[in-house]
Amino acid sequence: MSQEKLVEIKNLKQHFKTGRHSVVKAVDGLNFDIFKGETFGLVGESGCGKSTTGRTIIRLYDATDGEVIFNGENVHGKKNREDLKKFNREMQMIFQDPYASLNPRMKVEDIIAEGMDIHGLANNDKERKAKVHELLETVGLNKEHANRYPHEFSGGQRQRIGIARALAVDPSFIIADEPISALDVSIQAQVVNLLKKLQHEKGLTYLFIAHDLSMVKYISDRIGVMYFGKLVEVADADDLYNHPIHPYTQSLLSAIPLPDPDYERSRERFTYNPNNHDTSEEPEFREVRPGHWVLCTSKEFDFYKKEHATTK
């Protein structure tokens, strides 16, 4: 994993107007970078703004405020259609519900080739077919599957089709929004292994959104924890699990049951109380340990540093 930034998210905001006077601040001032070739995991409880973050980064929504910088260029500032097309090709998305995201009336071949057609990546029908067959094999399906329809596939196979579709345009960055949440445990493992293999082979960068924290820990290099539209902590995956600093992260981790009866018999759960924070000033994102960022006030920062800066 390099330290070269592929995506920089600066003060990103997405506020939805839900009524004449009401606004949902789904994403409210995010700052983080995603390095080339890494998997950045985004976790948090439902409604905290994970999907909105992914959708705003890939421009399914226009941002209310802030910037997304991709390979040094501001994505949200782009007006020119050619430039937009280039970004659309570089960034792809995989969704939670592989069925809802695949058009039931289209053959698998056409679903996978749709992006190739838009970007003119195949010169003729033969080349298009060959590319589709190759993609099917890459994701562990076979070329006989090309002529079938989505309903003929199991959930895990559909997710493979979704992955093949995303790969078809040779992206460098993939946003995966809960790609395994709807699948059985054993099938989850198949898909996660596939995503890891593809990352190695193609040097892909992932933003992996999930609420299953043990899978996120396994697949991610770094992890960001969201709470009510804000990032409260970003750190290396191991450091986050071994030294959670923000009390919300601590409570979240303490609530996960692990497949180990002995551990479960002694696990203690903490409850997060948002009222226990210092309110003397607006909290900011601060680096408490090297590469380990926490949303806190300057008082809290001093306290966290004393508690956590030196422990190994």
Binding site: V185, S186, A189, A255, I256, P257, L258, P261, D262, R269
Partner: protein, 353 residues
């Protein structure tokens, strides 16, 4: 401990246009008072059908209990009339589903829904029932119950709704509670609260629970014993320690291996290849054999019987046969078993039963 439930060789089938779907193919287990049995397995393995059969909630047709008995305190439920079952359901056995809205009536105030069972089964009058509802809502941790009971389900959050369902299920102090993926749709902190609540109440009332889930973390948390289902059969059953620290069936290995532990670093997850068999036409021999890298010739021909590993632990795999070669579970599973195998006997072979 006293046996509350005994299921013997239960078969459940559905008659469909395509033919007979053999959803449950000879399931045998028992449950003692106060005990929690977790049932795990991939979707379609027959977990829900098994438990619906216990409650006699299988739609007939297309479904039917083909064979077997379900002894609840010695009475065979398969022989009961619908009228007799209605007295048992809700009162002696209650069920919690994954989606709370399948158990809640959206057009009825929450308080009235909980009162219904109390008035019907416990012969309480409205005032008594109302008092009990407030107690129950308090018990399941719903703040301000007096005003909440006048609200409709849609005015509750997902977690609060599931608490209401738990309250309804517990209203009559059932002896057996069946929970079918009750926390799957919930966030981890809400899940943790509901699980703690259920365990707390179980301790107080000494009820037994059958808990269906595909989350092995939840299993490790709630279960006293675990039954692993595959293609309509229980392929391994034992105490929670037997199953997690001394698993014998390759399918159990696969299930455990496909979940990363917090310290599994860069190794590949041990994923079970392929997908479960078609229950319209279950394969000959061991249904798991086509997906099993440890399969032997006999697996393709003959179904393995249950082998006894210890007093508490049974598994249906030919690997436990005295003539079978010694097979080692995958490395990631062995790592988990290391230093933990203290609690269960770890002989390599079992006794055929």
């Amino acid at each position: 401990m006293e046996k509350l439930l005994e299921v013997n060789n239960m078969h459940v089938s559905f008659d469909t246009y395509g033919g007979e779907v053999k959803a449950v193919r000879g399931v045998t287990f028992d449950l003692k008072k106060g005990e929690t049995l977790a049932i795990v397995g991939e979707s379609g393995s027959g977990k829900s059908v098994t438990t619906k059969a216990l409650m006699q909630l299988i739609p007939k047709p297309p479904g039917r209990i083909k064979e077997g008995e379900i002894l609840f305190e010695g009475r065979d439920l398969t022989k009961m009339s619908e009228k007799q079952m209605q007295k048992i359901r809700g009162k002696e056995m209650a069920m919690i589903f994954q989606d709370p809205m399948t158990s809640l009536n959206p057009t009825m105030k929450v308080g009235n829904q909980i009162m219904e069972g109390l008035i019907k089964h416990q012969k309480m009058d409205r005032a008594q029932a109302r008092k009990r509802v407030v107690e129950l809502l308090e018990l399941v941790g719903i703040p301000d119950p007096e005003s909440r009971l006048k609200q409709y389900p849609h005015q509750f959050s997902g977690g609060m709704r599931q608490r209401v369902v738990v309250a309804i299920a517990l209203a009559c102090n059932p002896k057996l509670l069946i929970a079918d993926e009750p926390t799957t749709a919930l966030d981890v902190t809400i899940q943790a609260q509901i699980l703690e609540l259920m365990k707390d109440i179980q301790k107080k009332t000494d009820s037994a629970t059958i808990f269906i889930t595909h989350d092995l973390g939840v299993v490790a948390n709630v279960a006293d014993r675990v039954a692993v289902m595959y293609a309509g059969k229980i392929v391994e059953i034992g105490t929670v320690d037997d199953i997690f620290y001394n698993p014998k069936h390759p399918y159990t290995w696969g299930l455990l291996g496909s979940m990363p532990s917090l310290d599994s670093a860069d190794e590949e997850l041990y994923a079970i290849p392929g997908s479960p068999p078609d229950l319209l036409d279950p394969p000959k021999g061991d249904a798991f054999a086509p997906r099993n890298e440890y399969a032997m010739q006999i697996d393709l021909e003959q179904e393995p019987p249950m082998f006894k590993v210890s007093e508490t632990h049974y598994a249906a795999t030919w690997l436990l046969h005295e003539n079978a070669p010694n097979m080692e579970p995958p490395a990631s599973i062995k790592k988990r078993m290391e230093g933990m195998a203290k609690s269960s006997s770890s002989s390599e072979k079992g006794d055929r039963i």
